[in-house]
């Protein structure tokens, strides 16, 4: 299939006029621009905007920190004694989360941490307005990550022909 070449049209320049007409038409076409701070587009529910944390669900298992390709998750925890579940039972310990920080200046938004978390403590949120003036301020701690938990949307409904098995 050869590329069409019309050498004949060198003097009439029909292509130029067609292009000129095109741009003239767009001069009078409404602009699809969204004026950002005043109006905002809603990101899709699956958008990987920011990682939210549910600190209650976290068991300090460190899987996310270990699997992270660029090690941007910092976790510290301690063991807390917990009352036995039934009277007279053995005293147990539970891991308590002290520090959970994600350095968003390092994070490459791959989502491996969300995927490996066995206790559903991490979620993707489409929230994106968390830019800062200082790079160091991009390290966000437990409380901030928990705030984002509220912005986690319900997962989108699936196409009906989807996974039935």
């Amino acid at each position: 299939m050869p590329a069409p070449l019309n050498k004949r049209s060198r003097f009439a320049f029909p292509g130029l006029w067609k292009g000129m007409w095109f741009t003239l038409k767009y001069l009078f076409t409404p602009v699809p621009t969204v004026m950002y701070p005043q109006e905002q587009e809603i990101p899709v529910p699956r958008a990987r905007g920011v990682i939210a944390l549910d600190p209650e669900a976290c068991t300090v298992c460190m899987l996310c920190a270990r699997e992270c390709p660029d090690w941007c998750i910092y976790i510290e925890g301690h063991k807390e004694p917990k009352a036995p579940s039934k009277p007279g039972g053995r005293a147990r310990t539970q891991n308590e989360l002290d520090r959970f920080e994600i350095d968003y200046s390092l994070c490459m938004y791959c989502g491996i941490c969300v995927e490996v978390c066995p206790f559903d403590a991490l979620y993707w949120s489409p929230e994106y307005e968390y830019s800062t003036y200082e790079v160091a301020d991009l390290i966000h701690g437990k409380t901030r990550l928990k705030d984002w938990l509220e912005t986690v949307p319900e997962p989108p409904a699936l196409e009906p022909q989807g996974e039935s098995s």
Binding site: L5, L16, C110, V114
Partner: protein, 396 residues
């Protein structure tokens, strides 16, 4: 004519030729130059505006992916490989995953394979649209950029709606596509199957993409100035293209109708109907034209695929911790830019022993010194743009 006179003539001619000889100027183009697509550096010897030789200097964006692969697990590498060629991340993800799957003896279920195919084609459309938008820009026409990128944004929205990422989907997993994440009880991260309404949105978007290619035809393809800049410029004959290891649209524009999608069936390309676009000229115009036509073919493929996508599971059984048995394999796929291959050697264990990445742009770039010999400086920009390379893909 006496000998003396002849000698004198000779001497005068020598004098004239010596006088007219000018020193070539070494022109450093890049690493920071508006049209080097990043950080390519070309050391060009120019005689006025004519280029006598060009030497590409690469490596400014070397990120060491091949070495990195040796210290990263397979799951982590999946997130990394789509950053090699960031314009078409998914297309370079698939061969890597297929290589791991083949070594482990796993095959992805059909539905997953079709989703891979659709996403690959969407990324092909997106990548070619980047080309058709930015190539006229390099020739000085700014308007096509905005009109094409506006429609590309719709394609990226589709990709984001499906995978959550716009450029780096990280959507492939060994044995299928991104699964129900984690093992928790809540319903919030159940499945990454096709979201509701996505197929209809795809159909609508594909129409817009077709419309956009027509707009490109109106604004760019038929434009006489554009033709004057590209027709007959940077001609690469078919045999030279093969010699230099060109692949993809660059090869097909030189008259060699070779498309890996017709030869390597790790995705169900054999079940869709599409043409291999090729053009005989081998010049910049043909390379542009082939890519524009390939957008249309990809639209055809996507529309067929969303009708054919079968029901079924998204992921075959694969161990949670990937241990790839000993062995080696080379898997290649048709990236939007050409042949993209991974040579994977595993010694067992969770990490590759060695991963050789056959990146497309690196090979496509290698013809630059040959094709630019004797060209003009403006042609350099035209040729460089028409080869459509991504510097991350060159340097890895």
């Amino acid at each position: 004519m006496s000998d003396e006179y002849r000698a004198m003539m000779h001497r005068s001619e020598v004098a004239v030729s010596v006088e007219l000889q000018t020193q070539d100027m070494t022109l450093n183009i890049g690493p920071q130059h508006p049209s080097t697509h990043g950080v390519l550096r070309l050391v060009a010897q120019v005689d006025g505006e004519r280029i006598t030789s060009v030497e590409p200097v690469i490596g400014y964006m070397h990120r060491g992916y091949e070495k990195l692969a040796e210290v990263r697990s397979y799951a982590q590498m999946t997130a990394l490989v789509n950053r090699i060629d960031w314009v078409s991340g998914f297309a370079s993800e698939v061969p890597f995953i297929v290589a791991v799957e083949k070594l482990m003896g796993i095959e992805a279920p059909e539905r997953a394979q079709w989703i891979r195919l659709i996403l690959t084609e969407l990324f092909r459309i997106s990548s070619h649209m980047v080309f058709t938008s930015s190539y006229p820009l390099e020739l000085g026409a700014t308007t096509p950029l905005f009109h094409v990128l506006r429609e590309r944004e719709r394609v990226l929205e589709l990709i984001e709606g499906m995978t959550g990422g716009r450029f780096h989907p990280n959507f492939n997993r060994v044995g299928g596509i991104k699964p129900a994440a984690g093992g928790g009880k809540t319903q919030k991260k159940v499945s990454m199957d096709i979201p509701e309404g996505w197929l209809d949105a795809t159909r609508a978007t594909m129409e817009r993409v077709m419309l956009s290619t027509h707009q490109s035809d109106t604004l760019v393809t038929g434009n006489e100035l554009f033709k004057a800049r590209t027709v007959g410029v940077g001609v690469i004959p078919g045999d030279k293209a093969v010699e230099y290891g060109l692949s993809g649209p660059n090869l097909r524009a030189s008259g060699v109708a070779y498309d890996l999608r017709k030869h390597e069936y790790h995705l169900p390309y054999d079940q869709v109907d599409f043409d291999v676009i090729s053009a005989p000229g081998g010049d910049c115009y043909d390379r542009y034209w082939v890519r524009l036509q390939e957008i249309r073919e990809s639209v055809k493929i996507v529309l067929q695929a969303i009708d054919k996508i079968p029901d079924g599971p998204l992921r075959a059984k694969a161990p949670r911790v990937l241990k790839v048995p000993k062995g080696q394999i080379y898997v290649r796929g048709e990236n939007p830019k050409g042949e993209f291959g991974y040579y994977l050697i595993s010694e067992g264990g969770q990490k590759p022993y060695r991963l050789k990445i056959r990146s497309t742009s690196f090979s496509n770039l290698s013809i630059l010194p040959w094709v630019l010999k004797g060209a003009l400086v403006p042609d350099l920009v035209a040729v460089m743009g028409s080869l459509d390379f991504v510097l991350g893909d060159v340097d890895r």
